[in-house]
Amino acid sequence: MSAEQRKALEAQTMALQSVQSEIATLVGNRQKLESQLQENELVDKEFKILDDSARVYKMIGPVLVLQEKAEAGANVEKRLEFIRDEISRADQRIEQLTKDQEKKSVEIFKLQMELQGVNKA
């Protein structure tokens, strides 16, 4: 009986660890997204205060290519929207996984208590 419980405990602990490492990866990704968001916001602000006559270049490989200011501005805004969507998706996933992690911790705790109870009896 206690061997089964031990196996269940091990399985749950491994599951918990994998959830935890997934959360850590997601949090790291989210931070990267956050810094990308800030960078793009700076560029967006910069474009907004530019004259229409100012020349905007985009770096494609080693080449600076002249772009239309309007096009570049629109590009950056689209990117911003995309990043914001990604961030909210990542947040949702992180929330989901955190709840999952808590559930698993509680189950592990219960199993541990049961195991100790069986050993005492």
Partner: protein, 176 residues
């Protein structure tokens, strides 16, 4: 038991909870100490990055200032690769192309570029100040934590001595 509840507590890292440090056992305090140390390291790293960024922007400003009317038509070396340069002539001393981020570059007049860099330097300075304030706060918490841990440690040691003393007392009593 403590492992399960600590894992749950770590998952709540994003939410701020006011916990009375004095109520926590030594093991918990050690975990918090390790966490604070990690945070402090991260923050000091970010702070030095800010300082480096500031220095880079100042250097950019210095380069722009070097574009004087006298430098028009002066020979300059243009890098084609890391180790290959070609000589060229400085033809435009009015405009510069500034990296604004995410692969975009904007042509600006010298004055606009200088004000751009000034704004960047101020922005980075503000961020650095915020980081510094946070670092000071965390260092204060860290010092407080260390004091509480020291207090608990001495308490623990005293308790152990008392138990040992009581054990000896019981032994001598049973012999007598």
């Amino acid at each position: 038991m403590s492992s399960a509840s600590t894992t749950a507590a770590n998952a709540n890292n994003g939410k701020t909870q006011t916990i009375n440090l004095e109520d926590l056992p030594l093991a918990q305090l050690q975990k918090i100490k390790a966490q604070l140390e990690e945070e402090l390291n991260g923050l000091t790293g970010a702070f030095s990055q800010m300082k480096q960024a500031q220095a880079a922007f100042r250097e950019c400003k210095g380069c722009i200032d070097a574009l004087t009317p006298e430098s028009l038509d002066k020979t300059i070396m243009i890098p084609l690769t890391n180790s290959l340069y070609v000589p060229g002539k400085l033809s435009n001393i009015e405009n510069v192309v500034v990296d604004v981020g995410t692969g975009y570059y904007v042509e600006k007049s010298k004055d606009d570029a200088i004000s751009y860099y000034d704004a960047k330097i101020e922005y980075v300075q503000n961020n650095a100040k915020t980081i510094q304030d946070t670092v000071e706060q965390k260092q204060a918490s860290y010092r407080g934590l260390l004091e509480i841990m020291q207090y608990k440690l001495t308490q623990q040691q005293q308790q152990q001595k008392q138990q040992q003393g009581a054990g000896k007392q019981a032994a001598t009593d049973s012999r007598a």
